[in-house]
């Protein structure tokens, strides 16, 4: 099978899913609205005050020795390093056809799509698998490393910029399906990250400048695992909690963090929107501006589209938050309130990511298996048993995908509405104020969820 190089969805690879049938889309959209009003009626008067965001959790004592053990990090870090080396070696020495290069699968499917999904379900997997912390920690065992400089007060703006750059690599540069470019990007980012960790301190760099640490930290807040640490930083307890409630835990506030969450939403949405007829019409309407730019033109119009979508999402969010605060009728810190409510949108981003990438993960990921026999396409026979492996499409049948999409989207919406309700109760302190403040937030979440459904229902188009 050859790769259709023009398709730049998900970074690389063909798309196996069908647009959701119209009847199902209308049913899901109507259901979202109906269920939202049911939730509002049921939640009215429920849980207000400072304790509104408290949630149940159960200690799991048998996980404590595992969490304290160095072996999960050692094994995970080794796997992460192997993945990184695969990207570099295969990127430079493997096939230039993305479909036959393991580097593409490792980056765009196993890391970017699958690890985000699994981290939302299980917890922060990046904490285990990051190759950069693995390298740093291994070196720190043999060499004393002290920070050279103090990192200025930059918030997470550097991480936000890095995340945006990564999104551009995937969605707008047209380079995501070029293994050598991906390998170069991986090396450059590794050098920057390691240099930053050595010069400014491991935790300082990771918590402010490393995009994936910030991203997976947010995603893991949705996950079911939570730890307590003692004064020495050692894990003292491990808990399981309901999915999503971790997003209610106190978190740093700031417009940089709000923008990071908005970018999570907008980049995912752009990935889907860029395959719709509406996007094609948009690029055709602007062709007078970008065609004269030649080879740079498509990158320019796509990046412009991504920035436009991000700004639109941000402005819409802030507008609705102003309405939330106004109706909440209580003087609150704007930045802290906006930051805390931004996290309640994360479930919508995560379920759309899972729905959008469902068939990509369950089908395209299997194409890596036959490549294990000859990963660099040199005529090797490392594992002949897998050479003739053909992917199983059982989970990619349209009806299965559609049903999974609807279930995921609606569940994510319900969780987001519930979290937002609890946050409003904590912020605005009375049932009446909390309920009033939730009407604009509910409308915003219905709009975001409808956007997700609309994208999934659009005919799939291809740029040419």
């Amino acid at each position: 099978m050859t790769l259709a190089a023009q398709i730049l969805l998900h970074g690389f690879g063909p798309r196996y899913d069908l647009p959701i049938a119209t009847a199902l889309y209308l049913y899901a959209a109507g259901g979202v609205v109906f269920i939202s009003f049911v939730l509002v009626v049921l939640f009215a008067g429920d849980r207000v005050g400072p304790n509104a965001t408290e949630y149940p959790r159960r200690a799991v004592s048998w996980l404590v020795p595992i969490a304290r053990s160095p072996w999960p990090r050692i094994v995970g870090g080794t796997v992460g390093l192997i993945g990184f080396l695969t990207v570099v070696v295969a990127g430079f020495f493997g096939s230039t056809n993305a479909f036959y290069n393991p580097a593409e699968y490792v980056v765009w499917i196993y890391f970017w799509a699958l690890m985000v999904i699994l981290s939302g379900l299980l917890g922060n997997l990046w904490y285990l698998f990051s190759p950069w912390t693995a390298i740093y920690d291994a070196l720190a065992r043999v060499v004393r490393i002290e920070p050279v400089w103090k990192l200025p007060d930059v918030g997470v703006w550097p991480a936000t910029a890095a995340y945006f750059s990564f999104a551009c690599l995937e969605l707008t540069t047209g380079m995501a399906n070029r293994p050598a470019i991906v390998a170069i990007a991986a090396i450059v980012y590794t050098v920057i990250t390691l240099a930053g960790m050595f010069l400014f301190g491991r935790e300082e760099w990771l918590e402010h400048c490393e995009a994936f640490t910030i991203l997976f930290g947010i995603v893991a807040r949705f996950g079911p695992l939570e730890t307590d640490r003692d004064e020495g930083g050692k894990i003292s307890a491990v808990y399981v909690r309901p999915w999503g409630v971790g997003l209610l835990k106190p978190a740093p506030s700031g417009w940089d963090r709000v923008l990071f969450v908005i970018l999570m939403l907008s980049t995912l949405a752009f990935d889907g929107i860029s395959a719709t007829p509406a996007w094609q019409d948009f690029t055709v309407a602007l062709k007078g501006y970008w065609l004269p730019l030649g080879a740079f033109g498509l990158f320019a119009v796509r990046t412009f589209g991504l920035i436009l979508l991000t700004v639109a999402f941000l402005l819409i969010f802030i507008t609705f938050m102003e309405a939330v605060i106004y109706l909440g009728q209580r003087k609150v810190d704007l930045k802290a309130t906006v930051s805390s409510f931004a996290l309640t949108l994360v479930p919508i981003a995560l379920v759309y990511n899972a729905a959008h990438n469902f068939s990509y993960v369950v089908v395209s990921s299997q194409y890596l298996i036959p490549l294990l026999n000859d990963p660099l396409q040199k005529g090797w026979h490392l594992w002949p048993a897998v050479a003739s492996f053909t992917p199983n499409f059982a989970l990619a049948q349209a009806s299965t995908v559609w049903y999974a999409d609807i279930v995921l989207i609606v569940l994510g919406h319900v969780i987001a509405v519930f979290l937002s309700h609890l946050r409003a109760g904590e912020r605005f302190r009375t049932a009446q104020r909390a309920l009033l403040s939730q009407y604009p937030m509910l409308l915003l979440m219905v709009l975001y969820t409808m956007t997700s459904l609309w994208i999934l229902a659009q005919p799939i188009t291809r740029e040419s």
């Binding site: 063909p14 196996y16 269920i35 049921l42 429920d46 499409f393 279930v407």
Partner: protein, 119 residues
């Protein structure tokens, strides 16, 4: 959140998802037909009609006539139509996989059209 409210939310969601499953099932199972598509490829760049709609488990026959020698490739089903200028090439297969399957001029990768197999 009180237990009663949790149960009500759960019940609403269960009803919604069961009804959705029934909706998908009722709208599916339209396949099993014999379909024939007569397709013309011009200049290795365009195909008429460019969209071939089918349902899962239809038996599909695609007859391609091209004005150029070359391979037209149907992805996902991995079927190659080795065309000769002016001659019709035909393949019959069972559409057992749902997909939006790309049809390309193989040597250039130029997209020609799509076979859409719905449930």
């Amino acid at each position: 959140m009180s237990r009663t409210r949790v149960l009500v939310v759960g019940a609403v969601l269960v009803i919604f998802f069961v009804a959705g499953g029934i909706l998908i099932y009722v709208n599916g199972h339209q396949g099993g037909q014999n379909l024939t598509f007569n397709v013309t490829v011009t200049g290795a760049t365009t195909m008429k009609p460019d969209t071939l709609p089918a349902h899962q488990n239809d038996t599909v026959t695609v007859n391609i006539t091209s004005d150029t020698d070359g391979e037209v490739h149907l992805h996902e089903y991995d079927i190659a139509f080795d065309t000769r200028a002016g001659q019709m090439v035909s393949h019959t297969f069972k559409a057992d996989k749902t997909c939006s399957c790309d049809i390309e001029w193989e040597s250039t990768g130029h997209p020609l059209g799509t076979l859409v197999v719905s449930p």
